[in-house]
Amino acid sequence: MLLDVRAGIELGEIVALYGTSGAGKTSTLRMLAGLMPPDSGHIQIGSETWFDSDKKINFAPQQRSISYMFQDYALFPNMTVRANLEFAQEKNIDNKRIDELIEAMQLGDLQHQFPTKLSGGQQQRVALARTLVRRADLLLLDEPLSALDQATRQHLQDYLSEIHRLYKPTIILVSHDIGEVFRLAHRVLMMKNGQVVRVGSPLKVFAEGNEKLKGRVIEVDEESGFVAVLIGNQVFRKQIVGQFLIGQEVTLNDFNVEIK
C-alpha cells in the first residue's frame, strides 16, 4: 500500500488519526518517530528537518524529541513498573516526576511488580506513564487508552488534557473512539488507504461525508429539553428542540449543533 500523507500540524496541537485498520495510522507515527523511513518526502518540526529524502537527512529516533507509546506497549519484562519509568529518564532520576506519574496512572500498588504480571489495562497505563516521563516536544500515542475501562479512560483523558495544558506538547494520537477524539483532539486527520481523506475539527470531520457521527439517545428530559446522547462511549447532553425517543439513533446532522 502506498502511504501518502500531506499534513501540517500546529505546534502544541492535539491531533487524532482516525481510520480503519490498515489505513496507515501506525505507519505515519512510525515515520514521525524515525522507525520507518519514508521513500520520499520530508518531515519538518518547527525549524528542524528530521527527514528529507532529497537532502539525505534522516534523524535517528534518538535524535528526535519524541515519545512514542506502542500499541503493544513494549514494556521491558526485565524491569519492574517503576524501573521501566526510570529507564525512560535521560540521566538523573527524578523521583518526584515518577511518583507523580505513578499516582496519576493509579499504579501505586503495582510499581514494584513486573509487567508480565499485570493485566492489559494496567500495562497500558504503565506504557502511557513511561511515554510521559520524557518531556518530548512530540508525543506519538498509538491507541493509548483502548484497553481501559470507562472510568479510568475518562480519568486519563482528563490527565492528558491537563498534561497538555501544562506543557503544551504536540500530541498525535491514534484513536478508534469517536467520543475520545471529541474530548481530546483539536483536529482529526481521517485516513483511508494510506491517504488523508479529511482534515478538520472533530465536528467538521465527522459531520461531513458518508461517515456520519452516529449516536444513541439514552435520556430525554422533556421538561428542561435536555437530551443525553451516547456517542462512542461518551455521553453528551444538549438542550434541543425536537422529538427524541430513548434508544433512537441520531446523527450529528439531527443534532445540528456544536457539541463541544
Binding site: A33, A60, P61, Q62, S67, F70, D72, F76, A88, R134
Partner: protein, 220 residues
C-alpha cells in the same frame, strides 16, 4: 594412576574458550540478528561452517595457516612472538572458531525472537544501541545466553579432531582428555581410558544437569 593434567587442561580450555566466545559472540550475534547488510548470508555461512565441516578439515587449514614456515604463521611469530601450532594458544584459537556457531546461533535466535518494539521503544526513549543491547535486549534473553554458554563449553570438552590436528599430543600443553583417552586405547590401557572417560562423563553430566535445572526454575 590417572594423570590429572589432561582433565585440568580440558576444563581450562573449555573455560577460556567459552569466555572468549561469550565476549565476541554478543556483538556478532547482535549484528547478525538486526543487520540488513547484503553480506549477512556470507557471514552467517562462515559462522555455521564448523557445524558441517569435519573437524580435521578446520584443523588442517589452521595447521597450514599457523605453521611458522608459512606467511601468516611466520608473521605472527616475528611480530608478536606467537606460535599457534602445537601450543595451548593455538588450541584456544581453534576451539573458538570450532565452537563459534554453538554460541552465536542461540544468542542470534534469542535476539531476533524478541519483539521488535523492545528495541524501538528503547530508541525512542533516546537510548543508544549499546545501552539498548545491555539493558533491554540481553537481560531478556538469559535462557538463550545460558544455552550458548553450555553448548560451547560442552562442545569444547568433546573436541577431538581439531585439537589433534593443531595441538598434537604434548603433555601439559595440548594433551586434553579426549586425546589422552585415544592415546590410552592405542596403548591398550583400557583401564586408564575408562577412568578418563568415566570422569568426563560424570562431570559433564553434572554440569548440564545443574544448568538445566537452574534454567527450568528461573523460567517457571
Amino acid at each position: 594412576m590417572m594423570e590429572w593434567s589432561p582433565i585440568i587442561l580440558t576444563f581450562k580450555l573449555a573455560l577460556i574458550t567459552t569466555l572468549i566466545l561469550f565476549v565476541i559472540s554478543i556483538p556478532l550475534a547482535n549484528w547478525l540478528a538486526f543487520t540488513k547488510s547484503r553480506i549477512k548470508p556470507i557471514i552467517e555461512t562462515l559462522v555455521s561452517m564448523p557445524l558441517v565441516l569435519p573437524p580435521t578439515v578446520l584443523g588442517f587449514y589452521l595447521l597450514i595457516a599457523f605453521s611458522p614456515s608459512n606467511g601468516l604463521g611466520r608473521w605472527l611469530d616475528e611480530v608478536f612472538g606467537l606460535r599457534l601450532v602445537f601450543s595451548f594458544g593455538g588450541l584456544v584459537f581453534a576451539s573458538v572458531i570450532y565452537s563459534l556457531p554453538f554460541m552465536v546461533q542461540p544468542i542470534q535466535a534469542g535476539l531476533s525472537n524478541l519483539p521488535t518494539s523492545f528495541r524501538e521503544a528503547a530508541y525512542t526513549l533516546g537510548k543508544s544501541h549499546r545501552t539498548t543491547l545491555m539493558r533491554v535486549l540481553l537481560p531478556n534473553i538469559k535462557p538463550a545466553l545460558l544455552t550458548g554458554v553450555v553448548l560451547s563449553f560442552a562442545h569444547t570438552i568433546g573436541e577431538f579432531g581439531v585439537v589433534l590436528m593443531i595441538g598434537g599430543n604434548i603433555p601439559d600443553k595440548t594433551r586434553v582428555a579426549s586425546i589422552a583417552i585415544y592415546d590410552e586405547v592405542e596403548a591398550m590401557n583400557y583401564g586408564m581410558a575408562n577412568a578418563y572417560s568415566l570422569f568426563l562423563f560424570v562431570v559433564t553430566f553434572a554440569i548440564l544437569l545443574i544448568v538445566y535445572s537452574a534454567n527450568k526454575s528461573s523460567v517457571a
